[in-house]
Structures are given as C-alpha cells and as structure tokens.
C-alpha cells in the first residue's frame, strides 16, 4: 500500500507553478470572515472572480475532461491543486457550487453529447455557479417522494411549477440543477426527471431561510438557504437530462457523490486551529494543551478527525482507481457528520464557554470555534441525514433488503 502520492519532477514543478500562481492571485482579504451582508457579497464576487481565473487555466475542475472545458488533469495533479488551495483555506471550487459539482458529474454519465457541450464548459470555466434543488417540504430524506415540483411537457418546452426548500447559500445563483416530478400518477422511482436550467427565468423567485449555522459562502456548509418558487416556468426540453422519468437512475450518480463516494483529501481546518488555540490559551496559568483532561479530549478529537481523513482518502482512491465500492461512501458521510456533531460537545468541554462567543477579545480567534459549535449541528442533515446514510450502508452491506444494493456509478464504467 502507498498512502501518499509520489510526485515526479514534472509534478513538483507543477506544484511550484500552482503555488506561485496562487500567491499572486489569491488576496489575503479573500480569506477573511465577512463582517456584514454587504461584505459577504463582496467576498463572494472576489471568490467568483478567482473561480473564473482558475477555470481559465483548467484548475477549477481539474480532472474534468478538457474537451468540455475541464482541466483534463490526472488525479495526482488534482491532489496538488487541492492541497495548494487548501493552504489558503479554500476548496475547489472556492464557493458553494453543489449543482456544478454534482450536476456536471451526472451530466457526464447520463447526458447526451449535445448536453455535455452545452452545460459543462460554463461550469468548468467558472462562468456560472449552480445550485442543486432536491428537497421539498414533503420530501426530505424520502427524495423519491418528490411531488410538489412538477414538470409537464408542452411542445418543445417543460412547464415547471412548485417549491423547493433548503437550497443553495446566499448571493444568488446562475443555474439550477433540479429534480422534479414528471408523472404524478407514475410509479415510485419511475416518475422523476432532472433538469439543468437558467436560474433567471421568469417565474422563479427566492426567499431566504435563516439557519442556525454560520458562514454564508462557506464551501459546502452554509448558514443561509433559500426557498425557491417555480410559477409556470418554461424551460426548453433540452434541459431534461437522462430521459423523462429516468430521474432515479441519474440520482444514483448524484447521490453516490453527495454521500461521500468521491472521498476527500485535505487537512481538517478545525483541528489545526483548535490545537493552536489550546496551545496559546492559558487556564490557571497553564496552557490548555498541557492540562491532562484537555489533552485527553484533544486526543479523542484528533483520532476521530484522523479516521475521517483516512476514510476520505480511501474513498478518493477507490473512486479514482476505479475500484468497486460498497458502503464506503455513506460510511464516510455518516462518520464525518456524527464526528462533527460529537465534536461540538468535546470542544465545548475541552475549551469551555469561550467556544460559544465570537467576541474578538474573549472568543477564539476569528470565531472559528463558535462556527464549529453551530455548523457541527447544521451539517448533520445536508446531503442525507445520518439515518439515511445508515440505511444506505445496510442495503449495501446486504442486510437491509433481500438483495444487496450496488453503489451508484460516478464514472459510468467502474471495474
């Protein structure tokens, strides 16, 4: 086994190139915690501008096929890019782009050639940001129960009507990756379809939902979500991806990736800061990190973040080495979510009430611990609850149903 990428001389040169470029193009301000809604929007625009620059170099979606505007790079180069942007506390893309990540992967597997050429380049080049729209008031964990948002064929168009909730982040979106009911009388799993549509069409309106999380454009976590209303929105029929009423098949790819099947590499940003805080903060004249009870708590926290990292690394490798997967995707998701939730208590116990305040004098630096206190809880539900992850695991282990369920394809051609 080899847990590390061994870099060739060419790859090391690539790392230097990336680092030099990022140092020249990522401003220190972009890493700030926004101070107001206006500042949050300004920061979002800066991140989008950075995304377009990265996209122009093929570095926004590094492993995506070059013929559709992606980087066409191999996994080793992608890891280098991920590691280098991680040094700036950023990910690829550097803003919330769930519909871009999951929609583009689904279109690669299930879209027509025409759709790939139309939809993928703007995503890969950072020209558009895309939100995914799945959840409805009556269909959360039961995604197959989507009914409220309907799409009815009318000539060369579909007419979309209904409502989606827990969508996106703040600052708006350019595109929408949507699952809707295309046959209200159809059988379960045979009545849904996916659409990639323009977010600025007449009849689409949004209303913010305030969540107890923080962060706004904080990568995959977001403290602001939207309710999106569709009032007889007319979209071209070519927006339908994967065939009418084939939405559940397309969803297997989307959900496999959303449930952790793609894996993750990179350090845990909470851990580094937590340790530094404990080393720099004294209680009774002694640094927290030198007190046995705190050290014991830190050891437990560290081990769980390490195991999460190892599961992410394993899934990353399984995906890019095109190895068969079973329960590993939802396992990573389940472990990461339950660890985050558990960690809220563990951190509160280790560092005390300073974890709860963003006060510049009395809280932790830049309020990062307070952020974890909120987001560790908020993150339990997006992309499938912890219970749904366990249902998935059980089916794939082969005990939940009479036949073992297979993992969804993320390439269209796993070995």
């Amino acid at each position: 086994m080899d847990f590390e990428v061994t870099y060739t001389e060419e790859q090391q040169r690539f790392r230097r190139e990336v680092r030099t470029w990022l140092e020249a193009n990522v401003s220190a301000e972009v890493q700030r915690t926004p101070t107001s809604a206006e500042d949050n929007y300004r920061r979002y625009l800066e991140l989008r501008a950075l995304g377009r620059k990265l996209g122009a170099k093929g570095w926004l979606y590094p492993t995506a096929p070059a013929k559709y505007g992606g980087g066409g790079l191999d996994v080793d180069h992608a890891i280098i890019l991920e590691e280098e942007v991680d040094r700036f506390d950023l990910s690829l893309p550097p803003y919330y782009d769930s519909g871009g990540r999951l929609g583009s992967a689904s279109i690669l597997v299930w879209g027509t050639e025409e759709q790939r050429q139309a939809f993928l380049p703007p995503i890969y080049r950072g020209e558009v940001r895309t939100w995914q729209l799945l959840t409805e008031p009556g269909a959360g964990s039961d995604l197959a129960g989507v009914r409220m948002t309907t799409a009815v064929r009318d000539g060369d168009e579909y007419v979309i009507k209904g409502q989606k909730i827990f969508v996106g982040s703040d600052n708006g979106t350019d595109r929408i990756w949507l699952i809707a009911c295309t046959d209200p009388n159809g059988r379960r799993h045979e009545n849904l379809s996916w659409f990639m549509i323009d977010a600025n069409l007449p009849g689409i309106s949004m209303q913010p939902m305030e969540l107890m999380g923080t962060g706004g454009e904080g990568g995959t976590d977001s403290g602001v979500k939207q309710t999106v209303f569709f009032d007889d929105v007319r979209v071209p029929a070519v927006a339908l991806v994967g065939g009418e009423n084939k939405g559940w098949t397309v969803a297997t790819t989307h959900l496999e990736l959303e449930h952790g099947g793609g894996g993750r590499i990179g350090r845990n940003r909470v851990w580094d800061r937590l340790l530094r805080y404990c080393q720099e903060t004294k209680r009774d004249g002694v640094p927290l990190s030198q007190q046995q009870d705190v050290r014991d708590s830190l050891a437990d926290i560290y081990i769980k973040t390490e195991v999460t990292r190892l599961f992410g690394l394993r899934n990353f490798w399984l995906t890019y080495a095109r190895k068969p997967k079973s329960y590993e995707g939802p396992q990573l998701s389940y472990y990461r979510k339950t660890t985050g939730l558990w960690m809220t208590g563990a951190i509160l116990e280790a560092v005390g009430p300073a974890a709860l305040t963003t006060d510049p004098t009395w809280g932790s630096s830049a309020g990062f611990l307070e952020t974890q206190q909120r987001n560790g809880i908020v993150s339990v539900h997006p992309g499938g609850t912890t219970d749904i992850q366990r249902v998935q695991m059980a089916r794939r282990i082969g005990i939940g149903r009479s036949t073992r369920e297979k993992a969804g394809t993320v390439h269209g051609a796993e070995t």
């Binding site: 847990f3 190892l310 396992q331 282990i397 005990i399």
Partner: protein, 373 residues
C-alpha cells in the same frame, strides 16, 4: 497512492486463509481455549515450515525478512481465528526485541532458532502495578559475583506457559529508563509460569524465586533495555493491531451472516434498523482499526516517523475489537454466548488485547506526546 494489496500479499493472504480454514476451524479454536499452553505443537510445526515464525526476522538470522506490511497480511488472517499460540509473542515482539537489544553474537545464537520454531520467546514487561511504561519496571536484577539474581513477579506475560525463553525487562538503576533486558531460560530453577484463570487469553504470571542468571544473559548493554524495547514495540504493535483487525473482520462477517439467516417475526433480523445499527457500528470500528493500522505500517516500511501513528493504531484497534464484539453480541443474543459458536473466543481475546502492551488511554497519551502538543 495505491491502497490495494500487492500481488504477493494477495497470495500470502490466500495461503494463510486456506491454512486457517483447514487447520483451525471454529471447533479447533474453541477446543484450544481451555488448554494451559497456547502452543499447539502440530500447528506450530506447520506454521514454521511455511516460514511464518521468522517472517519479520532478517534473512541473515534465518528469517525471511519480509516487510511489516507483508507480515500484517498474515497476522490479519491469524486474527480471524483468533488463532492462539505465541506467534506474535515469539515471532514478532520477542524476535524484534532481540534484534533491537541484543549483541550480534546473541542475535546469531537466538534468532535462527526462533525462526525455526525450536525456541519460543516471550517478553516479560509489566508487573503487578500493570504499568506499560519504564517506571513500572521494578523487578530488580541484583548483580552478584558476575551474575544476576531475580526475585519477584512479572504479570500479564503473553504465552509464557509455552515459552522456552523469556526476555525479562529488569531494573538496574534509579533513573526511570535504567532498564536492562535479560535472556532467561524459562525452565531455569526458580522460574514458574502459570496461565491466569478467568476471562483472559493466555496471559500469565511468571514468578522468579532466587533465579540465578549468568552475566552473559544480559542482552546488549545494561540500561539500554528500555530504548531497545521501545524500538521493538513501535514495529511490533502494528502487527498486533493487524491481528486485531482480522478478529474484527471475522466478527463482522459472522454478524452479517447471522442477520441474513436468523429469522424472527417472519423476516431475517437484518431487516430491522435497530439490528442494522449494531452492524454499522461494528463495520465503522473495523474500518477505523484497519486504516489506522495500515497507515502506521506504511510509515514504518517507508522509514517515515511513525510513533504517533503507531500509538493511534493501538488505541483505535483496542477499542475497535472490544466494541466490535459488543455489537456482535447485541446482534447474536443467545447464540453469541454459546461457547461452541466461536464468538466468545473473540470476545475474550478482545478484552485481553485491550490492555496488553498498553490500553487506549495509555496510547492516546503517548500519541499526544509524540505529536508534541
């Protein structure tokens, strides 16, 4: 990056698995549980012929000098039994302690016989204080006329009732790490080994009553024993973890199969989400132990700093085995506590290895030290 086993590792795995299925099925494992000595002579000889007893011993000392990650594949398979016997005590911890601590002449004298299975080593570390650190070594080796005299007790010594040779950590000075290693004949006058009774697998008491040990029994140099032992432990622990991973894997497979075949309320019990939760808890522990262990092995084989990873692996694996067995008992209910079913052998082993060579709390603290927090 490549997290797959190599082709030769896959071959070793397949050989070891057929060996276990043929030589050590559940009824054999269950039958061995109550014997005083963990060493089953027939199994031992066959394992020796396969080269398994010298798998980590360098070729110049009669072993095959395999990488730790290759040996780990074997130990995972042995752990599936869990196969009793001083495989780890002699072939891994014993051999590596001699390798790290002994003089060249001593290595040449001792190790080939360990690789061939003629000598069986075990390392006696902890005492009635059950500490796994250097300060816990209190058994004094008093020098007298160029030899040593031992009086006292070593406790929780693995497989001592099947050992021919003991490596005994003794106190030879006042500083905490003033520890030396003595190579003592297990049959010497005054040495008594006794398997401890109860819910513990082949952990022994070794009593020393005026045992005369010649000066030549000192392995390497005086006061260097703890450093040698620490180096040996760093390399040996991940193989004990691999044995534990194999145990967790077997317990997981048993549990999955049982949920598929046991019918209650008209359906296989795996349909019940409460039952599924036990299996999921189990597989999460199994995979935590597996990947923590394999990353530590990879670091050691590549000469990378590995201390923190090794401590983490032992902490995670110890907890995983105990929790995996707990989950399996919740799945199996009455069937799981029938001795003949075989789960109980794992459960007892999981408790035994929980503390052996340091429990999770101990290793987490050493991990924090190694990470220099």
């Amino acid at each position: 990056m490549d997290l797959a086993l190599t082709e030769s590792q896959e071959m070793l795995r397949s050989t070891a698995r057929s060996f276990m299925e043929r030589e050590a099925p559940v009824d054999v494992i269950v039958g061995l549980q109550k014997v005083e000595s963990s060493l089953a002579p027939d199994l031992w000889k066959k394992a020796a012929r396969l080269g398994w007893l010298g798998i980590v011993i360098p070729t110049e000392y009669g072993g095959s000098g395999d990488r730790l990650s290759d040996a780990a594949v074997l130990y995972e398979e042995l752990g599936r039994g869990p196969l009793p016997g001083p495989f780890f005590s002699s072939g891994v911890l014993g051999a590596l302690t001699v390798l790290e601590g002994a003089t060249e002449e001593q290595r040449r004298r001792i190790l080939p016989a360990v690789a061939s299975g003629e000598r069986v080593l075990t390392v006696a570390i902890t005492e009635p204080n059950t500490s796994w650190g250097p300060a816990g070594i209190t058994l004094a080796a008093q020098g007298r006329n160029g030899s040593y005299v031992l009086n006292g007790t070593k406790l929780f010594v693995a497989d001592a009732t099947s050992a021919s040779d003991l490596v005994v950590a003794v106190r030879t000075g006042d500083a905490p790490t003033d520890v030396s290693l003595l190579h003592v004949d297990a049959k010497a006058r005054g040495v008594t080994a006794r398997r401890l009774p109860g819910f513990v697998s082949w952990q022994c008491e070794v009593a020393f009553d005026n045992v005369q040990v010649p000066a030549s029994a000192l392995l390497g140099e005086a006061q260097r024993g703890w450093a040698a032992l620490a180096r040996a432990l760093e390399r040996a622990l991940p193989l004990l973890c691999a044995y534990i991973v194999g145990g967790c894997q077997a317990v997981y497979e048993k549990s999955v199969a049982y949920t598929q075949s046991r019918v209650q309320f008209g359906v296989p019990i795996g349909r019940f989400q409460r039952v599924q939760d036990h299996v999921i808890r189990l597989v999460n522990h199994l995979d935590s132990a597996r990947w923590a262990t394999w990353e530590a092995l990879w670091k050691l084989d590549g000469g990378r700093p590995a201390a923190a990873s090794v401590h983490m692996a032992k902490a995670v694996a110890s907890e995983a085995y105990l929790e995996a067995c707990n989950a399996a008992h919740e799945v199996h209910a009455g069937m799981g506590v029938l001795v003949e079913y075989g789960l109980a052998a794992h459960t007892q082993m999981s408790r035994t290895l929980f503390h052996y060579l340091g429990d999770p709390r101990w290793h987490k603290r050493r991990m924090a030290d190694a990470l220099e927090w």
